[in-house]
């Protein structure tokens, strides 16, 4: 199982703050999961935004980050704190 979260503009555009996906061995890296979501088409094309950021288990990571069953992943637009 993979828990996925969406924040800010992504959350609003997708109309979804998160979901749970069954673990697939193809989800070997965060980028593979991103491509899976992107393939849904339509509004999910925001997963192709060049500025997309992601986190694994509550830590910022790159799209190359390896994934394991049970992980929590978040996708979000550029942060704008401070």
């Amino acid at each position: 199982m993979i828990r996925v979260q969406y924040f800010a503009r992504y959350r609003e555009a997708l109309g979804l703050d998160g979901e749970q996906l069954n673990w697939e061995p193809t989800f070997s890296r965060v980028d593979a999961l991103r491509h899976f979501l992107l393939a849904r088409g339509g509004v999910w094309e925001l997963m192709a935004e060049p500025n997309l950021m992601c986190a694994r288990n509550q830590e910022l990571c790159s799209l190359d980050e390896p994934l394991e069953d049970g992980d929590e992943v978040a996708f979000f637009p550029t942060v704008t704190g401070g």
């Binding site: 800010a8 509550q58 979000f76 550029t78 942060v79 704008t80 704190g81 401070g82």
Partner: protein, 152 residues
């Protein structure tokens, strides 16, 4: 070090005083307060909503604070970030760094701010004269954060 994510406001004087009270060896407290402006990117702003990613936020702030402590001889460090609904003029963020001398205090304070802007999961949605809009990250902020990796 103190890290807080909160809805309610704060008094910069209380924060600076608390930082200094840690130690009579503190000769320098550099601090920063960020405020909601009434104007941004060409539009009037009447309010702001600050979203964050609970859990992840505290992780990110602790990591930023630990890195600052590793890089500079700090005697105290304070990061306070507000979330929720804010009005123009409201303080958003306080960062204060205390050290024996001013260089470490200035560097650490600016380092934390540059990282907060680019590595902490906060997002701003503005109410403007033309409706609500999400604020997009600035390339200059990303460049500022990257600058610390090369100069470290």
């Amino acid at each position: 070090m103190t890290i807080r994510v909160q809805q309610h406001s704060f008094d910069p004087g209380v924060e600076v005083g608390a930082l200094h009270s840690a130690n009579l060896g503190i000769g320098a407290v550099a601090s920063f307060v960020g405020y909601v402006r009434d104007f941004n990117d060409g539009l009037e702003v009447s309010g702001l909503f600050l979203e964050h990613a609970p859990g992840m936020t505290e992780h990110a702030l602790e990591k930023i604070a630990s890195e600052a402590h590793e890089r500079w001889p700090l005697l105290a460090l304070d990061i306070l970030h507000r979330v929720g609904r804010l009005e123009p003029g409201d303080p958003i963020v306080f960062v204060g760094a205390a050290s024996a001398h001013r260089d470490a205090a200035f560097d650490a304070c600016r380092f934390v701010m540059d990282y907060l802007k680019t590595r902490a999961p906060f997002w701003k949605k503005e109410d403007t004269s033309e409706g609500a809009r999400w604020v997009e990250g600035r390339a200059s902020d990303e460049a500022a954060a990257r600058g610390w990796s090369s100069s470290g």
